[in-house]
Amino acid sequence: MAELTYIQAISEGLRQEMRRDPRVFVLGEDVGVYGGAFKVTLGFQEEFGPWRVIDTPLSETAIVGGATGAALMGLRPVAEMQFADFVSCAWDHLVTVAAKQFFRARTPIPIVVRLPSGGGFSGGPFHSQNPESSFAHIPGLKIVCPATPADAKGLLATAIEDPNPVLFFEHKHLYRRIKAEVPEERYTIPFGQARTHRPGDDAVVVTWGAMVHTAAEAAERLAGEGYEVEVLDLRTLIPWDEERVLESVRRTSKVLVLHEDTRTGGFGAEIAATIAERAFEHLDAPIVRVAAPDTPVPFSPPLEKAFIPQVEDVVQALQELLAY
């Protein structure tokens, strides 16, 4: 097993899929010669040629719409948005066309849209967003948010195999910060199965993406205070592992839902509502949400730090929850 960064794992996973399945191809802005804005596809064009690693014009609509058409013709496109923020330009094609096509016409749309998302590096309002919740509301789309290198690789393989449109949210802040053992062979990780990132019985933090690591650090600090806080990584939001979350709720009775996306209408609200509906009698405290405030992502470092939930915020919220 090799130690890979998060981005290396994605790159490696994608390369493996393209070697395995000739139907898999990549399209996006600057993905070819340049290797992508974050270099996920660096060296791909040399190996797979210009017709499987396609540099497109600056055309998110045509990228996602084109991927849809290619998928209808039997290919397995993996489209890259240079930043997840730009997927707004392709909203129509994900939401209007891809998400609804199977329901209407029984024609599956097996596409993967890779979305480098998240902030933490002064990317400002248009290079830092976490729009997963917006898409989670659209029936017909699957939402994947890996937090670790091994998950990123395994979930990417599953996404490419999946017969539906899959939005693959890669957290930019994790790209080169997280390094871990990743199996060299190909493997898939089923959607809808949460992962216990850290065990604990005193409370559970339900989260995904980069916040898994924020939560883990907070849990580590609280371990010093004698509390064992479980960190549950959802891994995929659509579908999401309701049963696993409810199991944790029943066991710990105290839940904190954490996400980097903004608060109102965030997916955390869905989780909280489900817990209230299905595990009310197991709650020993109000469900707590820690999320970004309802503002655009700010640019200046102190503002951005105040925007993105920090370890201290989670620690504080957990302390109050644990003491409740």
Binding site: F25, L27, W51, R52, I54, T56, P57, S59, T61, A62, V64, G65, G66, A67, T68, G69, A70, A71, L72, M73, G74, L75, P77, D92, H93, T96, V97, K100, Q101, F102, F103, R104, A105, R106, T107, P108, I109, P110, P139, G140, K142, E161, P163, N164
Partner: protein
Amino acid sequence: MAVREAEPLSSLQEVREAGLDREDLLGIYRNLLITRGIEERGHILYKQGKIPGSFYTGRGNEAAAVGVATAMGPNDVGTPLHRDMGVHVVRGTEPWRIFAQYMGREGGPTRGRDGNVHMALAELGLYTMVSHLPAMLPVATGMALAFKIRGDHRVAVGWFGEGAAARGDTHESMNLAGVRRLPIVFVCDNNQWAYSTPTYLSYPVEHIADRAAAYGFEGVVVDGTDVLAVYREAKRAIEKARAGGGPTLLECVTLRMEGHAVHDDAFYVPKELFERWSEHDPIERFRAWLYEHAALTETEEDEIVSGVKRLLNDALERAEESPLPDPATLEEGVFASPEDLDAPHHK
């Protein structure tokens, strides 16, 4: 590269050179009649309250739709729109399924999940439109991209209207197709009215086809009421694409002979425009041509007309026998399963 205005067809000889024999011509006539017949009956059903929602027709556009579809090869694909009933007819969609679609029944191609002309049968190489026009152009472009990647000798046909030409999807599709010289034909049904918006408020140049030059491929303007001219130009464009010659923008000029939908009386369209274009009714025009150039007999015509009538009567009956969808199945089919990928068109 300037836009080319296509000549009308005049002789049987020319038609034969374009690849159509007499049987084909009678078949085209029959398809034109079926196309109009379906929409006329649908119109009546709608007014009888048998069709929920809205009802759209393509009256005046029959020749454009039938002409292009007739030019497509069996493995070619397309994304026809709401004025393109003729494409479904030519590709072999059974009329009863269209009526069932109109009526929201299980037998319709979308099994009641979507309505009116939002339908297509993938096994016939057709892919369902959405209301957001021209959102299917990027999809058709992607199909062409797939053919290019794989080296398939197939062509995609993407339809759009002159109204939808104002949207960015049109530009992004044509630009990508032009850059990559994809095997695609962009067909513009220019019926002069985007709902109530006239052409001069939709685009500032003489022809939509003028834009093709900006994307590095050929633009052609053809009289959309001339089924044979449309056929000939579509055939040229499709075969050029198949041969690796890249895209073509084919603009079929017609007039929308009814309102945007049944609820619209089109008061904003000058009366004299309707009068002038009614002299160019595509079906009448082709019928006259058949009598003049292909020796159509009244017996033949009667046979065709009564055959179409029978077909549609039976179709309507069958459609009405098709059950309404079971509400219990509502939540099925939001997501596809791996086995859904096994459909032949998906290999």
